[in-house]
């Protein structure tokens, strides 16, 4: 019995555990540990139309049960990804999600048109990166701009379009609804929360960018809450993420309403963490007496 196979907006994932964008590069770096076909999919490093150098280091700081990063979308550009990484990735027998970022509506449109025409299974629209000056989260925090960019991108995107939402908003529900109204096929949430850490002895922020995006176990309760809120406001498939370290965390996101989940930060401490979560979820589904994990999605019993 296949407890974990998940059809996510028309794309079949062998299990609902996907490597999160930014944490996993383009997949090559983890192949010494295990074959990538063990994963449900890979959301590739955020890619822009033109290559980007990213922010000056330091780009990482550790916090209580989390990390702050300010990489700033360093990437070799969409054309390089398509030429050098995608053919290799395609041969790994896993679902490929291209994560598309940009700095203007035109830039996003040009980028998504190029990426969606390539041999990827899905596009994740990154309108929630907190570490770039232009674009990124600026597009993801007002309903009007979300609607504008999603509808523009949708016109050039023949592949399923998943919009990645920022938690750095007063209310995530109208943002999710704006994305749905503009034609999003799925939602992924949450991106990182903007944070800051100061080196007291030197009176300096650890990150050269001063602020960065918080991820890791610390953000899980926020992710669970936001998935739960968004699930009640839309029928779109949801990929939940934020602080999944063990299968119970993934189960929380599934029960809150996610159809699949992503993992990022936990992989830094344990490269095998996604495999352990996959194993734990399969046992959970069987123990619950279900035939498939989809039967458990949204099945939290709120008070």
């Amino acid at each position: 019995m296949n407890f974990l196979e998940t059809v996510f907006c028309g794309v079949t994932l062998k299990n609902p555990v996907v490597a999160a964008s930014g944490a996993y590069g383009f997949g090559r770096d983890y192949t010494d540990f295990y074959a990538l076909e063990a994963l449900g999919g890979i959301s590739c490093k955020g890619t822009t139309f033109a290559p980007r150098l990213g922010n000056p280091p330091p780009r990482i700081a550790e916090t209580a049960a989390g990390i702050l990063n300010s990489v700033g979308l360093q990437n070799p550009g969409a054309a390089h990804f398509i030429e050098y990484d995608l053919p290799w990735l395609r041969a790994q027998n896993t679902v490929i999600i291209a994560n598309a970022a940009g700095s203007s509506v035109e830039d996003y449109v040009e980028n998504v048109a190029l990426l969606a025409a390539a041999d990827v299974d899905m596009i994740e629209l990154n309108i929630s990166c907190p570490n770039v000056k232009e674009g990124g989260v600026a597009f993801g925090t007002s309903c009007a701009s979300v609607e504008k960019i999603v509808s523009a991108v949708k016109k050039v995107c023949p592949k399923p379009l998943m919009v990645k939402l920022s938690p750095n908003v007063t209310n995530i529900v109208p943002i999710a609804q704006a994305a749905e109204a503009a034609g999003a096929d799925a939602l992924s949430l949450i991106n990182t929360l903007t944070g800051m850490k100061i080196d007291v002895a030197h009176r300096r922020p650890i990150l050269h960018n001063n602020t960065g995006g918080l991820s890791g176990a610390a953000v899980l309760p926020i992710a669970v809450r936001m998935v739960w809120e968004v699930r009640r406001a839309t029928q779109l498939p949801i990929m939940g993420m934020g602080g999944v370290t063990q299968w119970q965390n993934a189960a929380e996101l599934i029960l809150a309403g996610a159809n699949a989940i992503q993992m990022g930060t936990a992989i830094f401490a344990d490269p095998y963490a996604p495999l352990k979560v996959i194993y734990g979820l399969a046992e959970w589904v069987e123990r619950e007496g279900c035939n498939n994990i989809s039967e458990l999605s949204g099945q939290v019993r709120p008070w």
Partner: protein
């Protein structure tokens, strides 16, 4: 590169806030090249700590590290018999010498350990200049004397060896003897001075760099340093492209 559970064979303080950890870690020890590092899981910390390999010999791996924060403080409390979870051996180490011409090692503070294995495992003759803030921080002097020709130790306050920085003996030695290369590791200002001096005297120089790191395997692009690659500046990863870089390619901040 692999994950391995390493049993602690011995663990001792060897200078102020500085520890020597010997691990039974056969797979990584056999794979390790001089200048590579391991990524050590520190309890429940979200990030591993990158620690350079001081010595790989048979099934044993020796790490010498300084206590910098919560992760290394946790590490310093571990006792023989306990196991540590490592990723390794990671990164690009120092280049194997192409000839039997001598090589000069220049180490500063907690940057001295990763140079030691060069002298043990490469066939070329080595000399070493080691610099520390003061006598309480001096480490590995006997170990370097055992495998190098000439060894100079400097301290900033003059409490041990010669008073001053590593660049003073370095200038003298490079003028007196024909070295094939300088291999250096230490604080950035020292590396920049060492690289400048080597360039001035026309000796190739390789430096081992450090930056705050997350994944350790090349995926996350956090531990970058600015490197000039065929004329253009790019951010390269200390964990994958380094930690050792050709000094002339480094764009010093």
């Amino acid at each position: 590169m692999r994950q391995e559970n390493a049993r602690i064979l011995s663990h001792e303080g060897i200078a102020q806030e500085t520890y020597r950890l010997v691990l039974h870690c056969p797979q990584i020890a056999h794979a390790a090249q001089p200048g590579q590092f391991v990524h050590v899981l520190c309890g429940t910390k979200p990030l591993r700590r990158p620690i350079s390999i001081c010595r790989a010999e048979g099934d044993a791996l020796t790490l010498v590290y300084g206590v910098r924060g919560e992760g290394t403080a946790w590490l310093s409390e571990r006792v023989p018999g306990e196991e540590l979870n490592l990723l390794g051996a990671l990164g690009q180490g120092f280049p194997a010498p192409a000839s039997d011409a001598p090589i000069l090692l220049v180490g500063g503070g907690i940057g001295t350990p990763p140079l030691l294995d060069c002298a043990h495992r490469f066939a070329a003759p080595f000399d070493a200049i080691l610099g520390f803030r003061s006598a309480t921080q001096v480490i590995l002097e006997d170990e370097y004397r055992a495998v190098c020709g000439a060894v100079a130790v400097c301290t900033e306050d003059g409490s041990h060896g010669t008073k001053g920085f590593v660049t003073a003996p370095m200038q003298e030695w490079l003028a007196q003897k024909k070295y094939a290369a300088v291999y250096a590791c230490g604080p950035t200002p020292m590396l920049q001075a060492v690289a400048g001096l080597a360039k001035e005297l026309g000796v190739p120089c390789f430096v081992s760099l450090e930056e705050r790191m997350a994944c350790g395997v090349g995926a996350c692009l956090t531990c970058v340093v600015k490197i000039r690659v065929s004329g253009a500046e790019d951010y390269l990863r200390v964990c994958k492209n380094g930690p050792v870089f050709h000094a002339e390619e480094v764009v010093w901040a």
